[in-house]
């Protein structure tokens, strides 16, 4: 059994390694191949397909299409309706991200105190984040209903009448922003909490001994040390807010001052217009924007925001 002479042993080992190597390829393909094939077909291929479709004047389902170069992009960046999508996307994203992050931070500061019941409170606060956007949209549609919604009854108690949340474009935008903040703030709070708990207590105690009050301690110690968390959260929230769809679609089914970028892609390709080429161009812009934001995160995350 045992190989005694050195030369054949080396040859056997070499052959074994070669067999092993090709066996490893085979095993790798067996284990990872299906997933990689799916990722290539349904994540990578669409990127290239979109880039091609975006150069066409083409209606969904039509057999013919005209090559129009970059006209779809020009339209998205210069036409009134295109600029309106940018306006809505930017306002919606900034307001949702700021609102969720500020309220989330306040809640995290509250939950960071050693209070009995805070673990349960943390869980409850996080829960809207995991709920169906469709379900949440329906619930808030009822609450905001200007005639029978509970909000209108609440306003009536103070002698006020409910504004037309669903008809007024600006108010509709305010409304969906409020609902997204409601859904996201618990997520922000939980992420902040992890950040807060990693701040060394002795730093805060040292600042207290130096005579810094709670507000100065927050702005001079806590907040700077929390900056990696703030940075991570702002990127994560911008990415998710730019992809908002469910609640927008349920609360304002055809868009009413609420045509954020993903909603616009849906309406353009599968709504009444079926403008597949134009929707593909918006998809390419969406991907490029999100990719750029992620790249900024990867580039700066190790450099700028680490204290230690």
């Amino acid at each position: 059994m045992a190989v005694t002479t050195p030369a054949p042993a080396a040859a056997t080992a070499q052959r074994a390694r070669r067999i092993n190597k090709s066996r490893n390829y085979f095993l790798f393909i067996l284990f990872a191949g299906p997933n990689i094939a799916l990722i290539l077909s349904f994540i990578y291929y669409p990127l290239f397909a979109n880039a091609y479709f975006s150069t066409l004047d083409w209606r969904l389902g039509a057999r013919t299409a005209h090559f129009i170069g970059l006209d779809n992009y020009t339209e998205f960046f210069t036409s009134r309706s295109g600029l309106e999508v940018w306006r809505v996307t930017i306002i919606f994203t900034l307001a949702t991200v700021t609102g969720s992050m500020v309220l989330g931070l306040l809640m995290a500061l509250v939950l960071n105190r050693a209070l009995p019941g805070r673990t349960a409170a943390r869980t409850a606060l996080f829960s809207p984040y995991v709920l169906s956007g469709v379900g949440v949209g329906l619930v808030w549609s009822f609450i905001f209903d200007p005639r029978i919604g509970i909000l209108s009854h609440f306003l009536a108690m103070f002698g006020a009448t409910s504004p037309e949340w669903f008809l007024d474009r600006n108010l509709a935008l305010v409304m969906v922003i409020a609902v997204y903040i409601w859904k996201n703030l618990g997520y922000c709070a939980v992420i902040y909490l992890a950040g807060l708990q990693s701040i060394p207590q002795d730093l805060l105690e040292a600042a207290a001994i130096d005579g810094a009050g709670p507000i100065r301690r927050f702005f001079n110690v806590t907040l700077p040390l929390l900056s990696p968390t703030v940075f991570f959260l702002s990127i994560a929230m911008v990415l998710s807010s730019m992809q908002a769809f469910d609640i927008l679609r349920i609360m304002t089914p055809t868009g009413n001052g609420t045509n954020s970028i993903v909603f616009e892609i849906y309406l353009q390709s599968f709504g009444t217009y079926q403008r597949a080429g134009y929707a593909a161009a918006i998809s390419v812009v969406l991907f490029a924007t999100l990719f750029a934001i992620t790249a900024i995160q990867i580039r700066f995350v190790e450099r700028k925001v680490h204290y230690s």
């Binding site: 479709f53 809640m107 105190r113 169906s132 209903d145 992890a194 969406l286």
Partner: protein, 291 residues
């Protein structure tokens, strides 16, 4: 364990006479306020779903239904094939999640334990896929799935989401932390990769696998845009799409009771799962933030 020991004096301190005012003002008051803002809409949804129309369309709504009724749920079942739609959601969620988690496990295993050149490059390719928003891939996927006959079918909903970057990424991180001795021992026993994966690597990684599985399940259950695009007939719809249909049929003010019943059906299962397994779900969803 040590946490609790350390926390006990802090609790007492928080409730001592000296700190009581600050504990209430900066602690319990905002906490309870926030909890009310979070919980009341959901409670309102539940109670409204049991209210007859006369208690929905009223200028003087009470909190609890005066004459509770199941009519709203019956109405949902009448407008959309509710049992069928619910079953579709269950099928899509569990079949989709099972395949996804399985593929994530085998892919992560291959990336960590099967040595081939370029496997870090392949991993990078999977990471980039993580950055592609599914909405940006929607239109080409709609055409691809339609062209292979997947339009208006359950497998058409499931298929394009199966390639999983998120699960692969999380499991790879977990597998890399496993001690080398564990694998060497198995190799000496002559166990092949398949047996090593299912008898050693997967069992010791159960918490991470559970985390990935739960996040995937919740996402599949709530998924709206893709099923909305690919499904036309009510018998093939998942719950969110069915509710979207319900929303477009029930446009009168009085229908809110029916819509709340629909919302309960899609929200309650996730709330129950979340209440039971929140630790895993929160950990999975906040992954990446906490290093």
């Amino acid at each position: 364990m040590t946490d609790q020991v350390a926390e006990r004096p802090a609790w007492l301190k928080a409730l001592s006479r000296k700190n009581l005012a600050s504990t209430l003002l900066a602690g319990y008051v905002p906490m309870i306020l926030a909890l009310l803002v979070i919980a009341l809409p959901l409670l309102w949804m539940v109670v409204a779903s049991f209210k007859p129309i006369s208690e929905i369309v009223t200028l003087d709504p009470g909190f609890l239904p005066k004459s509770p009724t199941l009519d709203n749920y019956a109405a949902v079942a009448d407008r959309v094939p509710l049992a069928r739609v619910f079953l579709n959601s269950v099928i899509v969620t569990f079949v989709g999640a099972a395949i996804k988690v399985f593929l994530a496990i085998t892919t992560a295993y291959a990336l960590v334990f099967i040595e081939i050149p370029f496997r870090n490059g392949i991993f990078l390719g999977i990471l980039v896929a993580l950055m592609v928003p599914p909405e940006a891939a929607m239109l080409p996927n709609f055409l691809s799935i339609s062209s292979i006959g997947g339009r208006d079918t359950l497998w058409g909903i499931i298929l394009p989401g199966l390639g999983t970057a998120f699960g692969t990424f999380m499991l790879r991180q977990q597998f890399k932390t496993l001690p080398a001795e564990l694998m060497e021992a198995a190799e000496l026993d002559g166990a092949g990769h398949w047996r090593r994966l299912w008898q050693i690597v997967a069992p010791v990684s159960t918490p991470t696998i559970a985390t990935v599985a739960l996040v995937v399940i919740v996402n599949e259950w709530n998924n709206f845009l893709w099923p909305l695009v690919i499904i036309d007939s009510p018998e093939k719809m998942t719950l969110p799409v069915g509710l979207n249909l319900l929303r477009s049929i029930e446009t009168q003010t009085g229908s809110y009771g029916i819509l709340m019943a629909g919302a309960v059906v899609v929200i309650a299962p996730v709330l129950i799962v979340f209440a039971a397994l929140q630790r895993y779900i929160v950990a999975g969803l906040t992954q990446g933030a906490v290093k």
